[in-house]
């Protein structure tokens, strides 16, 4: 019970409850109730049967039975991304846990707060190569923020409290709690700690005042300023202060794939997405700015390309991040500020007591407008075949930018990011770090459970959708009215694109033949299926899906141009100003 802070009254509770002992399984349920969990995504199995028996007896949260454990974790992950609350998944030992690993790694790469409860063989059987035994703590160690093996039921409640605390604080991340079956059977008195403090874990939230002052001064002195907004701005609830700061200063804003929506995309101050498939204006401004304010972003390889090329231009960098290890990892920064994005930016706003150099800023904007005039997002709008970009644009128009958009991974993901203009944070849900194909549909399920009645779409490809297509069954069971937007070009598009550009068109294993009839497939699962083959049918089909079939899952198979590529593109290892434009 070291360093555990209990509220005084709980000691009373403890003494009166000493004779009413609960089983470990009951304790798990009570902990989830105490954390205010409303949805748990999971799949039962031998090691977690005691927990499932208790789930049967409670109605404090709803359990969503998925069809594959990977989907449970992705759904819990997207639930967390779209709400800001900790997502919860529950799987059994052995294959249940290994199936969950892809989902856990996905959440880890994108810093998503999540608690994954895994069953384990009984403590006496651990290490005996028991049936459905795997070293879950060992397997998940490199892809979790932290993990626990609970060997004694008396440690269970405290461990659960710590798991939720660690998952949600500092740089968020997934936490695995591995519970042997006998621990779920054994009994002890239950006390759920009010709060927890750990001597080894004290994340910083308030930024250094001196550094913030220095940063504010640097921003005011800038001639060619730029705000670089990453996923941390979304996860750290920094959208409000990002907007306030950008508007107060009149500076250009660009977002990473993970930061989309933190600043409203239709705003003229927004230069769009940065990086490998970012806009020309965003990448050029990033390369040529003289003061760069990085907000919850980590200068990763898909954003700045080659750090040596990035370093060719002199610029001063201010970097706000909750994780000290993200600072000066790939790029040296001048003013590091460790702290929570919302708090640091709010403090920074108070420190800005002046106006930026209006003449310099005007000249900088004039330069940016020249870059913007390149119109790097143009495509053939008169094409006789459906252009994937046109589908996303039509979707944006019809949903008014208000939909939750889950995406899979590949070309369709980039088109979704480029052509759907997000007004709000937590609307764009994709696997940016790990790039997990199969993420989209279960993610849409998680969002739909969290936001009943809200429009939820899943933009996907015919490669990705087949990696978790079994979840159409879960969607039917829970009547989730997801709109699946399949941009079907009949190829593994991003692979094909790289093979075209960098492998002299040797299309090795990138063509997907023998695709199913997706309309029939959707209907077989009890959903509405549509096949759309002509450009003029795109909008009417989408309208129909969102009106006539509003409350149903509609699987929309758009047959798109197989030769279309994602532009612009910075080839891997190249610099920001070495873009391939269309």
């Amino acid at each position: 019970m070291k360093s555990l802070v209990l509220a005084p009254f709980q000691h009373l509770v403890c003494s009166t409850m000493a004779d009413t002992e609960l089983t470990g399984a009951e304790i798990v349920i009570r902990c989830l109730h105490a954390e205010g969990v409303k949805h748990v995504f999971g799949y039962p199995g031998g090691a977690v049967l005691n927990i499932y028996d208790e789930i049967y007896k409670q109605d404090g949260f709803k359990h969503i039975l998925v069809r594959h454990e990977q989907a449970a974790v992705h759904a819990a992950d997207a639930y967390a991304r779209s709400t800001g609350q900790v997502g919860v998944a529950l799987v059994t030992s052995g294959p249940g846990a290994t199936n969950a690993v892809t989902g856990i790694a996905t959440a880890y790469m994108d810093s998503i707060p999540m608690v994954v409860i895994t069953g384990q063989v009984p403590t006496a059987a651990i290490g005996m190569d028991a049936f459905q035994e795997v070293d879950t703590v060992g397997i998940t160690r490199p892809c979790v923020k932290h993990n626990f093996l609970v060997k004694d039921v008396r440690e269970l409640a405290e461990t659960m409290k710590k798991a939720f605390y660690i998952a949600a604080t500092g740089r968020p991340g997934p936490v695995v709690v591995d519970i042997p079956k006998d621990v779920t059977q054994n009994t002890c008195a239950f006390v759920y700690p009010e709060s927890v403090s750990m001597r080894s874990y004290n994340p910083t939230s308030k930024g250094h005042t001196g550094q913030i002052k220095k940063a504010a001064q640097m921003l005011l002195e800038a001639k060619r300023p730029m705000l670089y907004v990453g996923g941390g701005a979304v996860l750290g609830n920094g959208a409000e202060p990002v907007r306030a700061l950008a508007r107060k200063l009149g500076f250009p804003v660009a977002s990473t794939l993970m930061g989309l929506g933190a600043f409203p995309e239709p705003d003229p101050q927004n230069l769009g997405m940065l990086g490998m498939h970012g806009t020309y204006e965003a990448n050029m401004a990033m390369q040529h700015c003289d003061v760069l304010l990085a907000i919850g972003a980590r200068f990763d390889d898909r954003v700045i390309g080659n750090p040596k090329h990035f370093g060719k231009e002199a610029r001063r960098i201010i970097h706000i991040d909750v994780d000290p290890s993200s600072i000066s990892k790939r790029v040296r920064v001048d003013v590091p500020i460790v702290g929570a994005v919302d708090q640091v930016l709010t403090d920074m706003l108070k420190q800005i007591d002046g106006v930026p150099d209006a003449t310099a800023l005007k000249a900088w904007w004039a330069q940016i407008e020249l870059w913007r005039a390149q119109d790097c997002m143009k495509y053939d709008r008169a094409s006789p075949v459906i252009k994937p970009q046109a589908v996303v644009e039509a979707l944006y128009k019809i949903t008014g930018g208000a939909a939750f958009v889950a995406s899979d991974v590949g070309q369709h993901q980039m088109w979704a990011a480029q052509y759907y203009k997000f007004n709000e944070p937590r609307r764009w849900i994709n696997s940016g770090g790990l790039g997990t194909m199969g993420f989209g549909l279960p993610a849409a399920m998680g969002i739909a459970m969290a936001h009943p009645g809200a429009p939820v779409v899943c933009i996907t490809g015919e490669g990705s959708i087949q990696m978790n297509i079994q979840e159409l069954s879960t969607c039917k069971e829970h009547k989730l009215p997801i709109k699946v937007i399949l941009l079907n070009n009949g190829v593994l598009g991003m692979v094909r694109q790289w093979q075209e550009f960098f492998y002299e068109e040797r299309y090795s294993e990138s063509y997907v033949t023998s695709l199913p009839d997706f309309t029939m497939l959707a209907e077989a699962y009890g959903h509405v299926g549509m096949k759309i083959e002509r450009p003029e049918d795109v909008e009417p089909a989408l309208i129909k899906a969102f009106t006539e079939h509003k409350d149903e899952l509609v699987f929309m198979n758009f047959i798109t141009d197989p030769r279309e590529n994602v532009y612009p593109m910075i080839p891997a290892g190249k610099g920001l100003s070495e873009m391939i434009l269309i």
């Binding site: 060992g138 932290h146 093996l149 080894s200």
Partner: protein
């Protein structure tokens, strides 16, 4: 640059593997790693000897600090410090060589802690260089077995690592 990082972490199952896993996952070097509980049984103290550029060492420090079980760490190389390693060497000790081996052990202030008709087991402490110097000073064909603990270190003077 060679660095000696000392750290205090929760003495919990799997703590060592978290550190070792971090080094292998991120491609950092480990020259040696020693770990044992401290006077406070809930704490383990670890000494890691590593090499890397300043940037890499900075990342190693940050990544170690990020581990939930790590309470505090100190780069001993930042200040003056003492490092020691223990080595046990079993050597052949017969004929003329037997007396010579005893002399060498004395010169290096080693202790002979086990004796047979044909062998000595010598205990030596010192920094890594001293232990290596001993091995180079004796007849290499006489060495039967060596075992080294890896470096432990502590800062000189008032500087302490404690929670």
């Amino acid at each position: 640059m060679r660095h000696i990082i000392s750290l205090l972490m929760e003495n919990e199952a799997g703590a060592l593997s978290r550190v070792a896993g971090l080094f292998s996952a991120r491609g950092y070097n480990i020259e040696s790693l020693t770990v044992a509980p401290t006077e406070d049984a809930t704490l383990s103290r670890m000494t890691i000897v590593t090499r890397g550029s300043d940037d890499v060492i900075e990342q190693i420090n940050k990544q170690l600090n990020k581990l939930v079980d790590v309470i505090k760490l100190q780069d001993l190389s930042d200040g003056s410090h003492i490092e020691r390693e223990l080595m046990l060497v079993k050597v052949r000790a017969v004929g003329e060589g037997r007396e010579e081996m005893k002399r060498m052990a004395d010169i290096f202030r080693g202790n002979i802690i086990d004796v047979t008709e044909k062998s000595y087991t010598i205990e030596l402490t010192g920094d890594g260089k001293k232990l290596t110097a001993f091995l180079e000073a004796i007849d290499p064909s006489a060495i039967l077995e060596t075992v080294r603990t890896g470096t432990s270190g502590i800062a000189r003077g008032e500087r302490i690592l404690k929670i």
